[in-house]
């Protein structure tokens, strides 16, 4: 997508540098002049929030690794040392632990935004698939991070999750032994999880680079799902409009984040992880972190080991095919009255699965989770393909600008930001 303007260096130094490495021009094109649909709502701020959360996790993570010891006899004590002795260690550890939860809150809102507004539809399929890969990397990273404090939940969570691979016929047991580096979860497991927990965030950062590249190549979706037709009427430049709106949303998000860090730092965690790992006793009720609960409920819903594992991975894999399961010509659920109802049913189903996942694996919860798990797959594999092909959508606005004008009177929001057609400042022509 064309930008509002091209970067033109003014000073001699800037011109000299731009001729040799045009990085200022690249940043200008993607973060200043980049055209943003003028009708984006606050659900579009979560991409920025996620980027900041990735940076926050990497910064606090690197700092914690300066004090943490990945050895099964020292790990638990070294985390307590961080909490008690390291300067602001309590703050940095709570920031990192609650940061993982905030990261997943933001990513789930980000994903449901995409589901509602059809942001996975052509030409954004690769953008969406890269996003699903980021989700998988995030889950692997968060899982290995949770193992590091070597509490009871760490140890038994690691045992259960690595044992998922034992369900595969023939190669399963060899894969599990290879992951463990022994005959059970132990010191070699902890050591390698530390190395991989350090590596994966940088792989996430790499895929995020591709994700943003793909986004900037096809352009952002918007609440109407109508593509940009006239860049000057339908869009505003990223800076200052989106930069400031994203920043405001980040501040609000950080207030929410800080409330957890300072007032409820252990609310989202599990008390059993303050007991040191004991390889001979499993806690009576082990549950994963809240952000894995819906998938955990799907795993437990199936009375077969391999079946449960395949369905759990399938719950994420089905998202990879979403662009082709949805046959609708209209993107946004605002104009798809029947799909819209099923979208909210899916949201309710996922929340319900999360709640079931936190309950013990006994009746009636197992039966209830089977219904909810079945509905999850029914939505993607049956309801969505049929509804999207049969439904008659409501009429779409002629353009993004029209949809904004229809909402009220007065000047077009962001009117002063309309960029000049060629070069120069992106701002200031009133």
């Amino acid at each position: 997508m064309e930008g509002h303007s091209v970067y033109q260096p003014k000073s001699g130094v800037a011109k000299w540098f731009e001729d040799r490495l045009p990085i200022v021009g690249l940043v200008h094109a993607s973060a200043v002049a980049y055209p943003v649909p003028r009708n984006l709502n606050y659900f579009w701020t979560f991409g920025g929030i996620l980027t900041v959360m990735l940076v926050a996790q990497i910064l606090t993570g690197v700092v914690l690794a300066m004090h943490y010891v990945p050895d099964s006899t020292l790990a638990f004590a070294s985390v307590e040392k961080i909490m008690r002795d390291v300067n602001y260690g309590w703050l940095l550890r709570y920031m990192h632990a609650n940061g993982a939860s905030m990261f997943f809150i933001a990513v789930y809102i980000h994903m449901f935004r995409g589901l509602y507004y059809g942001s996975y539809q052509a030409p954004r399929e690769v953008l969406w698939i890269l996003g699903v890969l980021i989700l998988l990397l995030m889950m692997a990273t968060a899982f290995m991070g949770y193992v590091l404090p070597w509490g009871q939940m760490s140890f038994w969570g690691a045992t259960v999750i690595t044992n998922l691979f034992s369900a595969f016929p023939l190669v399963g047991p060899s894969i599990v032994t290879w992951l463990w580096g022994g005959f059970s979860v132990g010191d070699p497991t902890l050591n390698r999880f530390f190395a991989l927990h350090y590596l994966l965030p940088f792989m996430i950062a790499g895929v995020v680079g591709l994700h943003i590249w793909a986004l900037h190549h096809v352009g952002q979706n918007n609440p109407t799902g109508v593509e940009v037709k006239d860049i000057r009427k339908d869009t505003v430049p990223f800076t200052p409009y989106a930069t400031l709106k994203d920043s405001f949303a980040m501040v609000c998000f950080f207030i929410f984040f800080a409330w957890f860090i300072f007032y409820l730092p252990n609310f989202l965690g599990h008390a059993d992880n303050y007991t040191e790992a004991n390889p001979l006793v499993t806690p009576a009720h082990i549950v994963p972190e809240w952000y894995f609960l819906p998938f955990y409920a799907i795993l437990r819903a199936v009375p077969s080991k391999l079946g449960g594992v395949l369905l759990m991975f399938g719950a994420i894999a089905v998202l990879l095919f979403l662009p082709w399961l949805d046959g609708s010509k209209v993107r946004s659920a605002n104009y798809r009255p029947i799909y819209r109802i099923f979208f909210f049913l899916l949201v309710a189903d996922c929340i319900y699965l999360g709640w079931i996942g936190s309950k013990p694996a006994i009746s009636p919860y197992v039966g209830l989770s089977q219904l909810a798990a079945a509905y999850y797959f029914l939505h993607f594999l049956v309801i969505l393909p049929i509804v999207s092909r049969l439904e008659t959508p409501k009429p779409l606005p002629a353009s993004i600008a029209d949809s904004v004008l229809a909402n009220g009177s007065g000047p077009l929001p962001g009117q002063p930001g309309l960029a000049p057609l060629v070069g120069g400042s992106t701002h200031g022509q009133v």
Binding site: W156, V160, T177, W178, F183, P279, P283, H285, K305, V366
Partner: protein, 187 residues
Amino acid sequence: MTATHDAQEPTRRDMLFLATGAAAAVGAGFLAWPFVAQMNPDASELALSSTELDLSQIAEGQVVTIKWRGKPVFVWNRAKDQIEKAKEVKLEELIDPLARNENLEPDAPATDANRAAKDKENWLVVVGVCTHLGCVPIANSGDFGGWLCPCHGSHYDGAGRIRRGPAPQNLDVPPYAFESDTKIKIG
């Protein structure tokens, strides 16, 4: 370059390209293998072999847990009625019909005699790892007079056989031998 060859015909030069590519692929494979294999159990893990246990202190009905290769092993001195109950179970009622006893043939049926110690049917020695996803089941609980796994609700009976829940197999019987009447060696 020889001009006499038709571009469509395979030449000896094409053979050289294939041979070079094949050599590079073999080289890459040999280079990759140590990077994969370093994660398999190292020499010190493999050296963990056997554990001994004194049975004289274990009262009738008591289950003792000991650590072997990082995993718990249950040693249960079963009471008479517990043995009788385990013997009454018919093979058709079992989810997993195999004994899973490393001291016997792999196809031995899961009778109580094939699960308990030879000629000492009160002793039941099993690896305390649920065959579902590896949690430690809780002894003397569940609906079948054996173990209940708290993680996903698998029930095992008085011979450590899976009876209900997601676990696919009976609890493993590790290799072990009685060194005397009151001492066993596991591993």
